[in-house]
Structures are given as C-alpha cells and as structure tokens.
C-alpha cells in the first residue's frame, strides 16, 4: 500500500471483511428492543420539551435572559429534531418498532426540506453511491468544488463564499438539493420536470416560514421582532451546526473518492470497504455525539445506516478493531481538526489545479487519519 492510493485487499479478504460487518449488523438487529425504543422516545421528549420551552420564552423575548435562553433552547430543539431524530428516523432505524410516530417513511422534520425529497437524495442517492464521483451529489452538493476530480471552472473562485452562504442557509440548500439544479443548468434536466418537486418545496418551506417568521412572532404582540429574531437565530444556529457536522462526514483529508468504473459490480464487502474509506468520524463526549445525530460516527453510520444511531458508539469499538486487523485506515479526529481540514480543502479547491478529470493522487490516508494499521494485518484470525 502506498500513501497515495487506497489500501488494497484481495477479493477473499474483502468477502471476509464484509462477513464480519454483516455479523455485527445481524447481531444488533436481533437485539433491538425496548432499550432502543426508550432511547428515541426520551430524545423526542427532550426535543419537544426544549421546543415548547424555547418558544414560550421567546414569546417574552423582549427580556434579554428570556431571549437568550429561548433562542438556545429552540436551537437545540431544531438540532435534535433534524439530526438525532429526523435524520435517523427517516433512515428507517426505528421502523421495526411499527410505531407511526417514528416511521421512516412518514416522518417529517422541522426544516425546509420536504422529507420525501430528503429520503430520495440522501437515503438512496447518497448512501447507495457514497463518494462515487458523478453519482453521489453530496460531493459539493452541486454548489462547491470539494474534490480535485471535479473539473475547475472560474465559478469555483467563489468556493469559500458559497460555503459560508450554504452554511448560513443550509436548510434551504438542503431543500433545493434534490432538484438537481446543476443538471438543469447543464441541460440534462428541465424545469418542467421539476414542477411537482418545486410545489412540495414551496408547500413545506411556506409552512416552516409561516410558523417561525409570522405566527409565533404575531402571538408575541409588540414583542414580535424579538420572537422573529430568536427564531431566525435558532434556524441559523441549526444551519451552521448541521453544515459543520455534515461537511466533516466525507470531506476531511484522508477520505477517498471512487469512480463509477471502480465500483461497478461491487460485492457486499467492496460496498462496506467504500463506505469505510469514504467516511470520517469525529471524537467527543456523549452529548456531542447526540447533538451530531451520531453522525460523529459517520463510518458506522455508513456501514449500518439503518441501525439506531445511539448504538454506533458501541459498534465503533468493534469496527475499529476489525479495521486494525485488515490494515484499513479508520479516519477519526476532533471536530476542530477535521473541520479545519475541510476548510482548507474548500479554500484550496477554489483555485485551479490537479483537476481535469484525471485521478489526482490522494493525500495519504495516514496523514490526518488516526491510522491504526499494523504492518502485517492478521486476516480472519481463527
């Protein structure tokens, strides 16, 4: 294995690797029960409590302490709603409960993006084709240049500016994501085909805006501007937080991208392999993991997208040990380090270079990642 290419495993090793991960998945599936149900209900209760508390405080938002506390509570509520509840529930992580309140296909979340469109662009497109250039639209979200293999264009000089705007307006960026606006621009799709989607975005976005920017402020009477400002801030806090966590999932130094040819006819083991190499974890305490929607365990999430997120911390221990045995990198680091490398990438890729469709040498997976590869991996140790 050289420092510039992804580590290589033989087909037999990949199969064995896949079987070990399958075994983890099956074991957890068989163990799902009251513990998981209680967990997600506790989080939901906390989120609804924070929301009601936050909105109540913001109704008297003209009092500075109430405004601060209310805005903080509402921000936390939106973060929990979107990340630990919405994102995970919509993956079908709690479908086995058979409870309509946590049904993956029925759930709607407190953000502008209609849940149905998210389920398509995220659960299907992104999770199936993770980090495959040209197929995974989460690489740059059709707005940014996040890979050296994306051909440079003068438009990308604005990369850092677009990134800041995307962070602040993230919920609206996500809402428009499934429209594939860049494909319309390239003449591969037309606005005409997008009528239904636009209508759904309009309906959902309007209800969200009406609630946060009209109704709750009006209920506060003369305090309306304070409520409005609190709601706007809470949405922005959630936007920036979600952007930060999500951009740390696949863009830190050391994550790999793949081509369509490379991934054709992938086996189960190869699919796991791609998910592992394309994802990066964040280290932190239990509260940090909950607020990240357990996307801090992005690797485990991509290996097991439909296992309840709160289990990932436990699984990470096993996954890391398996990676160690197979000599595979396990990209993990604290938020400031991972996000720092993402910011560097955003700025660096604003400028031309090493693009042009040719596969650029990857920075060493070992450079940033906490690599735990022993020199001679013992494979499938008996």
């Amino acid at each position: 294995m050289t420092a510039t290419t992804p580590p290589q495993l033989t087909p037999e090793q990949l199969d064995a690797f896949g079987r070990e991960l399958d075994a983890i998945r099956e074991r957890v599936l068989a163990d799902l029960g009251e513990r998981d149900a209680d967990y997600i209900r506790r989080v939901i209760k906390a989120q609804r409590g924070l929301e009601i508390g936050g909105r109540t405080l913001l109704e008297v938002g003209f009092l500075p302490p109430a405004w601060l506390a209310g805005t903080a509570a509402l921000s936390l509520s939106k973060i929990l709603d979107n990340m630990e509840i919405g994102h995970n529930v919509m993956h079908g992580q709690y479908d086995w409960m058979n409870d309509p309140a946590v049904n993956g296909q029925a759930f709607e979340w407190d953000t502008a993006c209609p849940a149905d469109q998210w389920r398509h662009s995220h659960n299907y497109v992104h999770h199936t084709h993770t980090n495959i250039l040209g197929k995974d639209r989460d690489i740059g979200y059709g707005v940014l240049r996040m890979s050296e293999d994306q051909r440079w264009h003068p438009y990308y000089l604005g990369n850092p500016v677009y990134a800041v705007l995307l962070a602040l307006l993230f919920e609206w960026g996500v809402a428009l994501h499934d429209l594939e606006v860049e494909r319309i621009g390239a003449g591969k799709a037309s606005w005409k085909d997008k009528g239904e989607m636009l209508q759904a975005i309009w309906r959902k976005g309007r209800r969200q805006a009406l609630k946060d920017y009209v109704l709750f402020p009006l209920l506060a009477g003369p305090g309306a501007p304070f409520t409005f400002a609190g709601n706007l801030t809470a949405n922005a806090v959630r936007n920036v937080w979600a952007f930060t966590i999500i951009f740390c999932g696949h863009f830190p130094e050391g994550t790999h991208e793949f081509t369509e040819e490379e991934t054709e006819g992938e086996t189960r083991g190869q699919w796991y392999f791609r998910q592992l190499l394309g994802s990066a974890n964040l280290t932190g305490g239990p509260l940090f993991h909950i607020l990240s929607g357990n996307l801090s365990h992005q690797i485990e999430h991509h290996l097991f997208p439909d296992l309840p997120g709160h289990r990932y911390a436990e699984l990470a221990v096993e996954v890391r040990e398996i990676c160690q045995r197979y000599g595979l990198p396990y990209n993990s680091g604290p938020l400031h380090k991972q996000f720092g490398s993402v910011v560097k990438k955003i700025v660096k890729l604003a400028l031309p270079g090493r693009g042009g469709g040719e596969r650029a040498p990857e920075p060493a997976a070992v450079a940033v990642a906490e690599v735990v590869a022993p020199p001679e991996p013992e494979l499938v140790a008996a």
Binding site: D22, L32, A37, D95, N123, Y124, T128, L215, D306
Partner: protein, 380 residues
C-alpha cells in the same frame, strides 16, 4: 329537576374539554405544531389523546380464568362505537415493538363510553400472553374503529341462536348483552363449548343473564368433562333442538375454532339456511417457524391495494411486484435506503441476506431484500 341539574353539571365539566379539543384541532394549532402535528406534543403528557386516532386507556383488568384476561377500556373521543359482534384491532407495544391483533368487544354496544375485551393467552402467542401477564390499569393502547360483518343487523331478528367455542365467546357475549340491554323479547339460546367449566371467561355473567331473563336459555358443553354441562359431546343437531330455537326463523351467529364453525355451517347448509347463519372462525395461528430448508415454500402473492395476485417465486418481492406489472417505489435494491419499505399484511417472508424468516402480521418490510415463504399479502 334533578336530571336537569345533572345535565347542567355534565355540560359544565365537558365544556372546557370540548373547548380544549376545538382549540387543539384548529388550523392555527396545526400551523404552530407543523410539521409534527398537535398529537405529537399533547400525547407526551396525555398519551390517550389524539385528534384523529382512536386510543384507549385501560381502566381495569380482571383475570377471570387461568388463561383469560379481561380489559375494560375507555376509548378517546374519536371512537365511533361498535355493533355487537364486530371486532377492533388493538395495538400494544411489547419490548419496543408495536403488535396488532383483533379482538371483539364482549360488552353491550349500549354500555356507554367503556368497552370490554377479553383475550385468552395462546401458548405460542405474543400479544395474548403479554396482556395476561402485564396488562394494568392506566396503560394506553391504540385501537381501530370497529369493523367486520359478523354483527347483529339493525333490524333485530325474531329469534336468536348464539353458538360459541372457547374464546369465541366474546362477540356473541356482546350480542347477548346488547339484546338484553335493549329489552329484546324474542327467544335467545346461547350454546357455549369449552374444555371444562373453569375455562369459561364469562361463566358468571352468562348464568346471571340467563337467570335474569326468561327469554334466554343457556346450554353449556364441556369437551373434556362429560356430564357436567347441559350439552353432551360436540355440536350436533340435537343441540339445536335442545336449544328450542327454530333455525328457519332465527338468525344464528357462530364463533369459535374451525371444527365447531365447520360443523355448524354444514348443518345449516344441509337445511339450506346459509343465509340465516353468520360465522366467524379463528384464523389458524401463524406458524412461529417456517421450514425453508429448500429455500422456498410455494404460495400466492397478493397485492392488496392493487388487487393483483401472482404465484410466488423465490425472488425478492420487489422483483415479483414489478413482474406483476406494479411499480412500487424503490431505490438501492440492496436493503440500504428503505425507499421500498411497505407493510406486509400477512404471511411469512425470508430476508435474502440473512435467511431469517419473519412471520409477524402487519409489519414493515423492505421488499427488495425479502422473498415470500408461502402465501404473502402486501399493502401495495
């Protein structure tokens, strides 16, 4: 005067409740609670509340026999009542998983805002043993509206013959109670079959109704204890004669295990009285295990919503649905994205990745990675 005062008092206690409900059901409340909806907030403090769903609080629990458990439920304001003999789908959560089963209320259809259900713990069951062991007052369950054609017609017949076996007693018990409640004057005969006299859930209530109403005749037969009940052996014509009912003028309602229901049906068919017979029989319990050593069990695939049926193959259900001309939504086709998840109404399926077989009725499955094992019905 007294009754007027009572009505006034009732109005005053109901008014705040009605007002609250009206407020919570308003368009403004809906807009403020978007996208989750009002229920998802109120249910955290009042679990039985819902603007649209029927939920019920368990008011009391009795365990009348070694296997039986009787729940008295108070359904919420969305409950529309039932006709004697109908069933409801009751959902309870067991180890984090919501299970749904059908039960017939055994109470009178005129019993006010309470309904009574009785379950008999089945040795291989999930829900009934759970209710027998763990049901307690204060528990909240989900209900459907009442459903089913096994019901007393609005125009009451001249005579009524009720026949039940084992836990099949509940819908006919409801009919008997409803008729007695209404002051029905025609002759009613109640034939009940059980293993022995200790295994009858409504033994005392039946005896009281029979002794309190001259038009009600109660006849009991015990299959494992001869010579105790009024009836000897299994159901036969002589039992109908003993009941003193003219089956050409009566409506007959029979509910119980298939052997009993089949025998009744055959007798009524011989007499060409099929139109005067209503039956409900226990579905054979779903097998807990399915032998899939050969990988496939032949069966029929039914797509309930589109009314399409096909012969099952060992292929994933998604492929078979598409082969049958349907276009269910799907994505990855490898069990990742849950786009194709749909409700399996009944039957067993095998996860093609793990080989694990799942037999639970009314559960969500990913049709791209599940193949049928025998007959399967999907909500597509």
């Amino acid at each position: 005067m007294a009754s007027e005062a009572l009505v006034c008092a009732q109005v005053f206690t109901e008014m705040p409740q009605r007002l609250t409900r009206k407020l919570l059901g308003s368009a403004l409340a809906d807009a403020l609670a978007t996208p989750h909806g009002v229920d998802r907030y109120v249910e955290l403090v009042r679990p039985a509340f819902s603007l649209h769903e029927v939920r019920a609080e368990v008011v009391s629990v009795r365990r009348p026999t070694a296997r039986g458990v009787t729940l008295t439920l108070r359904p919420n304001a969305n409950w529309q009542g039932f006709c004697a003999g109908q069933f409801v789908r009751l959902s309870v959560e067991i180890d984090g998983v919501r299970h749904t089963r059908c039960y017939s209320p055994a109470s009178s259809a005129h019993a006010g805002d309470l309904i009574e259900l009785t379950a008999h713990a089945q040795p291989d069951g999930v829900v009934s043993p759970f209710l027998r062991a763990s049901a307690r007052a204060g528990m909240v369950v989900s209900l459907s509206q009442a459903d089913g054609d096994f019901a007393l017609p609005d125009e009451r017949p001249e005579q009524v013959l009720l026949i039940s076996g084992g836990s099949g007693i509940t819908p006919v018990m409801s009919m008997l109670r409803t008729l007695c409640h209404e002051g029905y004057r025609g002759p009613i005969a109640f034939l009940h079959y059980a293993r022995d006299e200790h295994d009858v859930a409504y033994a005392r209530q039946l005896a009281e109704l029979a002794s309190g109403h001259a038009n009600v005749r109660l006849l009991r037969g015990y299959t494992r204890k001869m010579g105790v009940g009024e009836l000897k052996g299994r159901f036969g014509r002589e039992h109908v004669r003993a009941a003193g009912i003219d089956s050409t003028r009566a409506l007959t309602f029979a509910c119980g295990p298939s052997a009993l229901v089949d025998a009744v049906r055959a007798t009524w068919a011989q007499d060409e009285l099929d139109a005067r017979l209503y039956v409900e029989q226990f579905a054979p319990p779903a097998p807990a295990r399915v032998d899939t050593t050969d990988g496939h069990v032949a069966g029929t695939l039914r797509f309930a919503r589109s009314g399409v049926a096909a012969t099952g193959t060992p292929a994933p259900l998604l492929d078979q649905a598409e082969a049958a001309g349907l276009t269910p939504t799907s994505g990855c086709r490898m069990g990742i994205c849950h786009t194709c998840t749909c409700r399996k109404l009944e039957g067993a399926v095998r996860d093609v990745r793990t080989g694990e077989v799942s037999t639970a009725p009314d559960e969500l499955i990913q049709i791209c990675v599940n193949a049928p094992v025998g007959d399967v019905t999907l909500d597509i």
